[in-house]
């Protein structure tokens, strides 16, 4: 118990015996003290302070004389001058904070976008963060949403627009949700049925039936953006329906749909089974676009801060590992088995390495076909909100920047990216261009107004 004595008190001996004189011996003194100091954070700070004081004054007598001479407050101020006591206390609290909920369930959809979440299980990132996580395969986005909202899942793999939609109460009850990390960037593609291999010009797609994973998905917005730029109205000239990714290839094969803008391995699987070809990768629509998100409710973040931090740390470290191309084959082998993606290894490997068959007899080499960058740019959220508004999902006025700030937790991402040895950007918003058209996150309404095809009233 001597670890919890106040080293800034001249009355206290950091050696043997009872220092206050009120107790018969040191044990009785400690027991009394323990009763009074039950706040674990205060104890943690004291342990840090004590270590520092012991290091500064190896002779306890010297420390006590020093404190008597200048007083505890002056001593504290003087030491804080050259030693960051506050930072040390905080670091200690973070490193050893008790994990409130070590057994967790995280839901995922079996697609390569979920790579950092899935791989953290077989490759031990969750375990090393002190967590026992079950990653649970889920049938579709609506089910993921419902199971997460009713707390069967503690965290989940979601499409990046979903936490925004849930927070705003579009298509669900409004519940504050957060995205502390983006799972992946790029990594999607437009795949068409083999019979359309001569219709490479989008203007020939009038009357096509397309599938996207969900209404609130980057896929929906990218496909709408893409066809609209080619003069097709996505609501009138083509049909877009929501189909869960695992069922897309079966539907393409059955001629229920003409094509899809889908996550991988769905596109590559269509090629593998000879039912479709990859028309284009979405990185050629918007280089570096976000796709899926790691989503946690705000309630979980505030109630289980240490668990949240450990979980996010595991995800960040896994993402850092996945960014290096030389690790991709190993990851493909870890996530392909039936427990996770349930796909042939070669299909997953082609997606992750970017050396792939395109379904038309060519082998393409695009190393950044899918990439991993966890930083939740606020400008990504604002772009997504503009598209929700453009297509009539979001009605009325919205404070874009505020919603983006509240849902995309850039500050937490920055801190944990540093811990995982990655380099987070210094800004939280950036300009980017989609199909050559620049997006300025500071002027979202002007951006929406600039489109000819839109559903705003």
């Amino acid at each position: 118990m001597s670890a919890f004595k106040d080293p800034f008190s001249a009355e206290v001996k950091l050696g043997q015996g009872c220092e206050c004189g009120l107790h018969t011996d040191s044990a009785a003194h400690d027991a009394d003290l323990a009763r009074r100091t039950s706040d674990p954070e205060a104890l943690g700070s004291r342990v840090v302070d004590q270590a520092v004081m012991r290091a500064l004054f190896p002779q306890d007598g010297a420390r006590r004389r020093f404190l008597k001479a200048v007083g505890a407050n002056t001593a504290l101020a003087a030491i804080a001058q050259f030693f960051p006591l506050g930072a040390a206390r905080e670091a200690f609290a973070q490193g050893n904070g008790r994990i409130e909920k070590p057994n967790l369930k995280v839901g995922f959809i079996p697609i390569t976008c979920a790579t950092p979440i899935i791989m953290s299980q077989p490759m031990g990132y969750f375990g090393r963060a002190g967590l026992n996580v079950d990653v649970v395969k889920t049938a579709g986005w609506a089910v993921i949403r419902d199971k997460t909202l009713n707390k069967e899942y503690d965290a989940a793999h979601m499409l990046s627009p979903m936490p925004l939609a849930i927070t705003l109460g579009i298509g669900s009850r409004p519940i504050p949700y957060t995205t502390p990390a983006i799972e992946n960037i790029n990594g999607q593609a437009i795949t068409l049925a083999i019979k359309h291999k001569d219709k490479r010009d989008p203007r020939q797609w009038k009357g096509f039936k397309f599938a996207v994973p969900f209404d609130y998905s980057i896929h929906n917005y990218l496909l709408r953006y893409f066809v609209a730029e080619h003069g097709l109205d996505p609501d009138r000239d083509i049909q877009i329906r929501a189909v869960p990714p695992p069922e897309m290839v079966a539907n393409l094969r059955a001629d229920n749909i003409d094509g899809f803008l889908a996550p991988d391995p769905v596109n590559q699987r269509a090629v593998y089974d000879g039912v479709g070809f990859i028309h284009m990768l979405t990185k050629d629509i918007w280089e570096g676009h976000p796709c899926c998100a790691f989503a946690v409710s705000r309630e979980f973040v505030t109630q289980n801060p240490n668990t949240y931090r450990a979980l996010l740390k595991a995800i960040m470290e896994a993402t850092a590992f996945a960014t290096r191309p030389e690790n991709r084959k190993q990851i493909a082998e870890a996530i392909a088995p039936a427990n996770y993606l349930n796909q042939p290894v070669t299909v997953v490997e082609q997606v992750l390495t970017g050396t792939f068959a395109d379904g038309l007899g060519n082998v393409q080499k695009v190393p950044n076909r899918i990439d991993f960058d966890p930083f939740p740019w606020h400008s990504f959220a604002i772009w997504i909100l503009t598209q929700m508004k453009r297509w009539g999902q979001l009605k009325g006025d919205v404070d874009y920047a505020k919603v983006a700030r509240e849902v995309f937790l850039a500050t937490d991402a920055t801190r944990l990216m540093k811990e995982a040895g990655m380099k987070p950007p210094s800004a939280t918003s950036k300009k980017f261009s989609v199909m050559g058209k620049e997006f300025d996150p500071a002027r979202p309404d002007a951006y929406i107004a600039s489109f000819a095809i839109k559903r705003t009233a």
């Binding site: 395969k137 199971k147 695992p246 290839v249 094969r253 593998y272 000879g274 039936a338 427990n339 070669t346």
Partner: protein
């Protein structure tokens, strides 16, 4: 002639199966066709895609190998999303039985009360008629939203689909007890509880058992669809997971297992019915 009577039907069944397998084999047999792409590309795609075709329906032999694989190791557990077919079936059966028994606990007493009084019968009738034809899966989103738990929701869906046949049959069986028997009971001044258990229940039992048989059949049909929707565990999840992998051979194994278990459930209730009938008469 006696031999034909005993062996005729099984022999005919075997012959039908053989013809079916032969047709299946003939229609799915793969002609070895020339590869139309270069070797590097062929390595990246499935065997059929390399010859310019779509992947084909599996042959009986492929399905047989898969089934053998499942039978030799039915209870493996490789994590939350990959368990053997035996474990998956056990999950489904447990769900069906829980939902079914809960439904029986509600349906039989309520059916009894409804059947005893023509007035109550007519009052409940419109509600039952509206609720009965609703596809149980239509309840699923509502259940997930209100019950807040996917496991409980699946059991609720089984409950709601198996309650109607039992309720209707019980009410019908109770209402159709012969007047004379009730009159005899009245003359003998039998108390209401004794009358219910000693006169009405034995008379209505065959109808109630038929209702239970219909219910368990429906419950088993529904559980597969419900598990495909919510995922996690069960034979429905198994089929969905293999659909996700486009493994038709595994899906066929799953379908066969579903059929066999459904047959066993029905047969055991049928035996119970016969047993009951023998006991009561």
């Amino acid at each position: 002639m006696k031999g034909l009577q005993v062996w005729g039907a099984p022999l005919l069944s075997a012959a039908i199966l053989l013809v079916f397998l032969a047709v299946w084999h003939a229609s799915t047999r793969q002609e070895a066709s020339a590869q139309v792409v270069d070797a590097e590309y062929a390595k990246l795609v499935g065997a059929e895609a390399a010859t310019g075709k779509k992947s084909a329906f599996p042959t009986p032999a492929e399905v047989g190998r898969k089934i053998l694989g499942h039978l030799t190791d039915p209870f493996y557990d490789k994590g939350p999303n990959d368990k053997g077919i035996g474990i998956q079936l056990a999950f489904s059966i447990a769900r069906v039985l829980t939902g079914f028994l809960l439904a029986a606990l509600v349906a039989i007493p309520v059916g009894f009360l409804i059947g005893m009084s023509p007035l109550v019968y007519r009052a409940f009738d419109p509600f039952i008629q509206v609720l009965k034809p609703i596809s149980p899966l239509a309840w699923m989103p509502l259940a997930l939203f209100t019950l807040q738990d996917s496991g409980v929701s699946a059991i609720f869906v089984i409950f709601i689909c198996s309650i109607w046949p039992m309720l209707i049959n019980t009410a019908f069986g109770v209402a159709a007890v012969r007047r004379e028997w009730l009159n005899v009971a009245k003359t003998l001044e039998v108390g209401p509880v004794r009358k219910a258990f000693r006169v009405i229940l034995p008379a209505a039992a065959p109808t109630i058992m038929t209702g239970m048989r219909i219910s368990i059949g429906i419950a088993w049909l529904v559980i597969v669809a419900a598990e495909m929707l919510v995922g996690g565990t069960g034979i429905g999840y198994f089929v969905w997971n293999e659909w996700n992998n486009l493994s038709i051979a595994n899906i066929i194994s799953g379908i066969l297992a579903i059929g066999l278990v459904g047959m066993i459930l029905d047969l055991s209730l049928a035996r119970l019915t016969n047993h009951e009938a023998g006991y009561l008469s």
